[in-house]
Amino acid sequence: MIAQLFLTAMLCAVMLYASTTYRQAPVIGLIAVIAACWGLYFVWLPSHATQLAALVGIGRGVDLILYVWVVISLIMLLNLHLKLRAQMELITRLARKIALAEASQEK
């Protein structure tokens, strides 16, 4: 029960994070929400996870949950990368403005 509550809290945090991401990166936000929903479902109904795991040939339900968690981590990593790109775009605009202003002063 303790583990279930802990994982639920973590997955709820992921959903919150995904919803804040949705405006900048809708695809990433949506995938993260879906993955977190699946995670919550399996945490509270582990027997279903075992059945589904057997169906797709993974073996144990706990392994399936682990895989879902890995997917969520990778999506968050990708989102971080996208945020870095967005930051770089801001830096680029700033640097360009400085460069053009300095070039105009030299004239």
């Binding site: 900048q24 695809v27 775009e89 830096i91 680029t92 640097a95 360009r96 460069a99």
Partner: protein
């Protein structure tokens, strides 16, 4: 084929650590009668000073941002000075200023907004076959993703009208900007033509050129760009 004297044309040259070639490149462009603006992309080897003493106008990025970012800066610089025609030109000595007239002439002759240089319609000197196949694959990919009928997707020698340049807003700072320009040309619905040009490969320019790994990074960059606003 020569430029009309009243034309306000700028040749934009993006340069990063090109001290070995930039003076000759600027001299080639200015000797042909064109105004050149070199966007020094945070070089640490004296590129900026060499470009300026060779006769180019100079814009200096305070930090290195990438060729795409430098080209966009150069385009904005030229537009702010009332340019009616803008030519993009590589800094590594692969291009010849003699080809510029043909590109600019094609804009008027075909009533087009973009004239794109093509080495596969024109000539290449010392081009390795691996580079040829890499570029052909890139062109095939670009044709498939943009619908543009082009033979050379990664040629930095191109001319555009003021209207065409106003439609270009590069957000790919690095090498993926060449594909990004073509995507923006496709979505602008403006007319484009491909014109034969000559590309001279040297040991210097080949060392700076793109590899298969770079091509993969370009594809990833283009994909990542589509994932966020």
């Amino acid at each position: 084929m020569s430029m009309p004297p009243q034309s306000n044309m700028w040749v934009v040259i993006a340069a990063y650590n090109e001290a070995a070639a930039i003076a000759d490149v600027v001299a080639d462009v200015t000797a042909a009668g064109y105004r050149a603006v070199v966007v020094d992309d945070g070089s640490r080897d004296g590129t900026a000073e060499l470009a300026k003493s060779a006769g180019a106008a100079l814009v200096r990025h305070p930090i290195n941002l990438g060729q795409g970012a430098a080209l966009q800066t150069g385009i904005e610089y030229a537009l702010a000075r009332g340019a009616d025609t803008i030519v993009t030109f590589d800094a590594d000595g692969q291009h010849r200023a003699a080809d510029i007239a043909g590109l600019v002439d094609a804009l008027a002759r075909h009533n087009a907004d973009f004239a794109l240089g093509s080495r596969f319609l024109g000539t290449t000197v010392n081009m390795p076959s691996s580079r040829r196949w890499l570029l052909k694959a890139a062109s095939w990919f670009t044709r498939a993703t943009t619908g543009l009928s082009i033979t050379d997707s990664h040629n930095g020698l191109r001319a555009m009208t003021r209207r065409g340049a106003s439609h270009i807003q590069l957000r790919q700072n690095r090498m993926a900007h060449a594909s990004e320009i073509l995507h923006q040309i496709a979505s602008s619905d403006l007319k484009y033509v491909e014109i034969p040009v000559t590309i001279h490969y040297s040991a210097y320019s080949l060392a700076k050129g793109q590899t298969l790994f770079d091509a993969l990074l370009i594809v990833l960059d283009l994909f990542a760009r589509r994932l966020h606003r």
